[in-house]
């Protein structure tokens, strides 16, 4: 479309695109609005997530991270480009738990199962299993406002898993939590990711969190969002947020992130 003609991408990194990837984003652009006030949010972003891969997306404000996730989740359509999840089910988690306040923890988790038409008895077993997975069996009958932020995010995670998705999109899911809770949830998420062989696209602004969790960290530029760097994280798991290796790579990524932010200051 016309966007391609208007802007040239100087330093776009050619992405590695393995065949049969879980998420395949090719040259996706997204413009909001029209005419003079049009805002180019994403500029020919190409990115792929292999089956079972954990990819972290990082970028400063205005890099269109959340927009990208909405596109993958099919809540919005790209202005141009191709986007495919190969027919796999996708579920989405937000920074706020987005739980339904009128339902208990168990009922929140049950709702996607009901939407899928699963019989009652089967639902009950599945909900118990999911509650156990996120260590919330004792809180099944509590309503969201009776739970802490970390507990709410675990309910939200269980609810996302209840959708039997192979692809999990996470939009700064732990951004509002205290450090200790977040560290523990990293462990929980990592365990579930391995066990369920999920493909995860995880958006965060916390560089060390991205290094802690990701197989790969992808750096996006801001206004418009464009892939400007990819960092494979090749040291073993489980990683610590504060380990020397994590910090070392985080410093490297932060330096490039800072350059990107400075560019917008001039």
């Amino acid at each position: 479309m016309s966007i391609d003609a208007r802007r040239a991408a100087p330093a776009a990194v050619t992405p590695v695109t393995p065949a049969g990837s879980a998420v395949q984003i090719s040259d996706v652009s997204k413009t909001f609005g029209r005419g003079d006030t049009a805002l180019l949010a994403l500029d020919r972003v190409s990115l792929s997530v292999a089956p079972g891969e954990f990819v972290c997306l990082i970028g400063a404000s205005g890099c269109g991270k959340s927009t990208l996730l909405s596109l993958v989740a099919d809540l919005d359509t790209p202005t141009s480009g191709e986007l495919s999840t190969g027919g796999r089910r996708v579920s989405l988690m937000f920074q706020e738990s987005a739980l339904f306040p009128w339902l208990t923890a168990a009922r929140n988790i049950e709702l996607p199962l009901r939407a899928n038409g699963m019989p009652r008895a089967e639902r009950r077993d599945r909900v118990a299993e999911l509650l156990d997975l996120v260590h919330l069996s004792a809180f099944a009958d509590k309503r969201p406002h009776q739970l802490s932020g970390g507990m709410r995010q675990r309910v939200a995670l269980a609810r996302a898993l209840a959708q039997d998705a192979e692809i999990l999109l996470m939009d700064e899911p732990f951004g509002a939590l205290d450090a200790m809770t977040r560290d523990l949830l990293h462990e929980v998420l990592e365990g579930i990711w391995r066990r369920n062989k999920l493909s995860i696209l995880f958006v965060t602004h916390e560089v060390r969190e991205a290094v802690r969790l990701g197989d790969r960290v992808v750096l996006l530029s801001s206004r418009p969002g464009r892939v400007i760097g990819e960092f494979p994280v090749d040291f073993g798991r489980p990683r610590g947020m504060d380990s020397a290796q994590t910090v070392e790579l985080a410093i490297k990524i932060k330096a490039q992130l800072r350059e990107e932010v400075i560019r917008h200051g001039n």
Partner: protein
């Protein structure tokens, strides 16, 4: 494959510890029911005593002494009225109209509110009109209704609908307006569409605002009902409004005040019922924790 223990077991102990620290302390025991009831009741009782005292003082001061009875005379008059069938018949008629009129208003208000909140052009056209109608004093509908239907029950029901339905519709519209977009997104992500999205997300999310609208609709409808009854007099059908009119004709102030007190009590009782429902929903939704 999974040769290990459930992979998430490692942090379990730490998580359990944090959760136990995080959860709210257990709610206060329900055993203090009477203490709570007393705490809620005494300011109201005090207000009642004060009102009676002021009334008694006005009476003692001799203001309009020939017309204005004191509390003792009035309450004795009301007590005597309550021993006759007429006043119970009147209460019955008025309450029956209230129930039928409110039910009609509920259906009409809900349908109009649902349509207006969903259809954008309709919203632009009719939205502010509904609020405008709501600000009209209820009495203006009485002549209109009598000309349209004649001096009969239909006219009175019409007045109730015209006063209560806008408030009910507005409650629903407000609920739809403040529907958190994030909850809609969450619902859509999990595959809820159209009917199921309505049933599982939109309806429960708008319920608190809807009940707020019902409460307000009741208050307006009650105004309209009594206004209608004072004017529309149907032979052989005594109502609280008709009793008021009779008292006016006979300049029977003691009886008139007694009827006013009855109307006040009924209004308060129904309002309290709405408050109970409202409070329960708000507590469930986590909007007003523990607040009664």
């Amino acid at each position: 494959m999974a040769t290990d223990t459930p992979a998430s077991q490692a942090p379990a102990a730490a998580i359990a510890g944090l959760d136990n620290l995080d959860v709210l302390p257990p709610q206060q025991a329900r055993g203090q029911f009477w203490a709570k009831a007393w705490a809620a009741a005494w300011p109201k009782l005090l207000a009642l005593v004060l009102a009676l005292a002021i009334w008694q003082l006005v009476y003692l001061s001799g203001f309009k002494h020939a017309i204005l009875p004191g509390p003792a005379t009035t309450l004795r008059n009301l007590w005597e009225q309550l021993h006759h069938g007429l006043i119970w018949q009147a209460i019955g008629t008025t309450l029956r109209r209230a129930v039928i009129g409110f039910a009609l208003a509920l259906v009409i208000g809900t349908v109009v509110g649902a349509l207006v909140s969903r259809i954008r052009p309709l919203r632009a056209a009719v939205g502010s009109l509904i609020t405008a109608v709501q600000t009209l004093p209820s009495i203006v509908w009485v002549p209109f209704a009598i000309i349209l239907f004649g001096a009969n029950t239909t006219a009175i029901l019409f007045v109730i609908v015209m006063t209560a339905a806008p408030a009910i519709a507005n409650g629903l519209i407000a609920g739809a307006d403040y529907l958190p977009p994030l909850l809609l997104r969450a619902g859509k992500t999990m595959g809820l569409r159209r009917v199921s999205l309505y049933r599982h997300v939109i309806m429960p999310a708008t319920l608190p605002a809807f009940v707020g609208g019902l409460k307000q609709g009741w208050a307006f409808g009650w105004h309209g009902l009594i206004a209608g009854e004072v004017v529309v007099i149907i032979l052989g059908q005594p109502s609280l409004g008709v009793l008021l009119t009779n008292d006016q004709d006979q300049a029977d102030m003691a009886s008139a005040i007694g009827v006013i007190i009855l109307i006040l009590i009924i209004g308060i009782v129904v309002d309290m019922l709405f408050n109970v429902v409202n409070g329960r929903i708000r507590r469930r939704w986590g909007v007003a924790e523990g607040a009664a």
